[in-house]
């Protein structure tokens, strides 16, 4: 199948030009003819050619100048240049090749030789063009494309410019390990792992994908993702072909996310541990109250009853000693009252036995003033919520008694839409601050552990409202 014709530019005097032009056109090439080097360059810049066939001796710009100009021009440098010299001047050939020509042809020449040289030249030009396209593509890939020897240095045959952005070192440093080996920029802690992974994949005939760190020229670390595989080239050599992508941004985002998650977990754990500490403290208070009640108080009760028996016997048999025994009984009663007050302060037994509302009712009945319970839920609240609310009410009422000079005091407890709330309101002097006294601030901690809030509204002269709210499924 005949190939479509090539674009040929002939740069020669008329006599030589026709000798070249006719055979080329005969086989279907498209031929342009110019007479000198300057005209050749402007013709090439208008439209590129696959092959230039030029005389060495030319007016204005000769063959040497033309070769040098073509090689120096980025757009034209892929063009195949054949220089014609007369058979008598073959010593010029090396000079022409030195100047950048690809091939030379001695005049006069056989038609077949011309056609063969042009055909070979065209193939070279096509190869160069496709290589240039490949390089352009490689330059646009957001990763370093490479081919290297499967050795421990990863000796590079080629590596694209992107490696400079990633590592800070120019690609030329790595070609043939001219300045440094690629292995030397891999983070020392990752080198062994990279080597093992690549060699294992090669041995198994599998492609590999791995992530590791690179140490940049400025000392920074970059995370890269490398994909590659072993390939066998036609000349019997084996290579690793692959690409290296900078994934530092992704790794950093992952790292950031992991740190955030760890931080959130830590905060949640702190929160949970605070709730556990408060629950444990409440359990301890319940236990201490119970122990006091079952232990010391019961013994005192027994002693008191026995003393009472003794007193009534003494009144009959030894009336002079009886008053002394009576005094002992009275003293014991005082001690028991004190002990009872102490136990009640530690934990109100009714709170765990009968729940918040009953405990609050009993609390209100002990108050030295009338306190109305204006609202209360029918069902019990979770134990930690009941404890927090009870202590809040007790503390608030103590404050009301001490500072508020109030006439009307009321307590409300409610539960609605996943929230439970408690409110202690008085019509006293107001002006209370949450920072005053450790009582309410300790309660603030309790409420926070329950994801709750504490609000104190206390405008001077306008009464005080203490309100707590917690989530309560």
């Amino acid at each position: 199948m005949p190939e479509p014709g090539a674009e040929i530019l002939v740069v020669a005097s008329n006599a030589v030009a026709s000798m070249v032009r006719v055979p080329l056109e005969d086989v279907g090439h498209r031929v342009r003819v110019v007479a000198d080097g300057v005209a050749a360059l402007s013709a090439l810049r208008r439209r590129g050619s696959d092959v230039i066939v030029a005389e060495w001796k030319l007016p204005h710009l000769d063959g040497r100048g033309l070769c040098q100009a073509v090689r120096a021009d980025h757009e034209l440098s892929g063009t195949h240049v054949i220089v014609m010299t007369s058979a008598a001047r073959t010593e010029l050939a090396p000079e022409a090749l030195e100047a950048g020509a690809d091939d030379y042809l001695a005049t006069p020449f056989e038609r077949a030789e011309l056609l063969a040289r042009v055909r070979a030249g065209r193939r070279t030009a096509q190869l160069r063009a496709s290589e240039a396209r490949l390089r352009a593509l490689m330059a646009n890939v957001p990763g370093a494309i490479y081919r290297c020897a499967p050795d421990r240095d990863w000796t590079m045959e080629l590596i694209s410019d992107e490696i400079e952005r990633i590592s800070g070192y120019p690609p030329a440093d790595f070609i043939d390990s001219a300045v440094r080996t690629f292995a030397s920029v891999i983070h020392p802690d990752d080198r062994g792992r990279v080597e093992d992974a690549v060699f294992q994949a090669c041995a198994a005939g599998r492609p590999f994908v791995l992530e590791y760190r690179i140490q940049r020229v400025d000392g920074d670390e970059r995370w890269v993702l490398e994909r590659g595989q072993l390939v066998h080239s036609t000349n019997g050599r084996t290579w690793l072909d692959g690409a290296i992508f900078d994934i530092s941004a992704r790794r950093q985002a992952e790292e950031e996310r992991r740190r955030r998650e760890a931080e959130q977990a830590r905060v949640a754990e702190l929160h949970a541990s605070r709730a556990r500490i408060i629950e444990a403290a409440d359990a301890a208070r319940r236990r201490i109250e119970r122990d006091l009640h079952d232990g010391a108080q019961q013994r005192f009760v027994t002693v008191a009853l026995q003393l009472r028996l003794l007193v009534s016997q003494l009144e009959r048999t030894a009336p002079d000693i009886a008053p002394l025994a009576k005094d002992v009984l009275d003293e014991l009663r005082f001690a028991m009252n004190e002990l009872r007050e102490l136990a009640r302060g530690i934990h109100p037994a009714l709170l765990s036995e009968r729940g918040l509302v009953r405990a609050v009712e009993a609390l209100l009945s002990r108050m030295p003033m009338v306190v109305r319970l204006r609202e209360a839920p029918a069902e019990r609240l979770p134990e930690p919520v009941e404890a927090a609310f009870y202590y809040l009410i007790a503390e608030s009422l103590t404050n009301v008694c001490k500072h508020a000079d109030a006439n009307v005091v009321s307590v409300g407890i409610g539960r609605a839409r996943g929230r439970a709330w408690v409110e202690v309101t008085d019509d006293g002097v107001g002006g209370a601050k949450s920072s005053e006294g450790s009582g309410l601030s300790e309660l603030g901690d309790r409420l926070e552990a329950l994801d709750g809030t504490l609000t104190i509204l206390s405008p001077p002269g306008n009464g005080t409202t203490v309100r707590a709210e917690v989530t309560c499924a």
């Binding site: 019961q298 013994r299 028996l309 009872r340």
Partner: protein, 120 residues
């Protein structure tokens, strides 16, 4: 005191209290006809012994005194008197709602204080 002694059932999980209370009440002219150490046996003994008075501790290992008092108020002629080493004000309205006749702090227990509550 009448010639016929009033009979009493003492309900408390502390044996020392039951013993002292028995001595005290008997010294003051009551007849203690039984003891129980928890709510269920209290209900059983009250049914079989039919005492005039049940002296009932509030915190028991199984049922509490309020529950026992309400159960008894429907099916026993006995007068129920609650007692505790805690104070009446620790219990708010529970005492009056339970069906018991009244409350005596343990330290105040005597024949006289019991009679005063029973005769209310």
């Amino acid at each position: 005191m009448e010639a016929v002694k009033e009979t009493v059932l003492i309900v408390d999980d502390h044996a020392a209290f039951r013993r002292s209370a028995r001595l005290l009440l008997e010294a003051d002219g009551y007849e203690v006809i039984g003891e129980a150490e928890d709510g269920r046996s209290a209900l059983f003994e009250a049914g079989s012994l039919a005492p005039d008075v049940v002296l009932l501790d509030i915190f028991l290992p199984d049922l509490d005194g309020f529950e026992v008092a309400s159960a008894l108020s429907g099916r026993s002629r006995a007068v129920v008197v609650l007692t505790s080493s805690r104070d009446a004000c620790d219990f708010g309205a529970l005492v009056s709602e339970s069906g018991a006749r009244g409350f005596i702090p343990k330290t105040e227990l005597s024949g006289a204080s019991l009679a005063a509550v029973v005769e209310q």
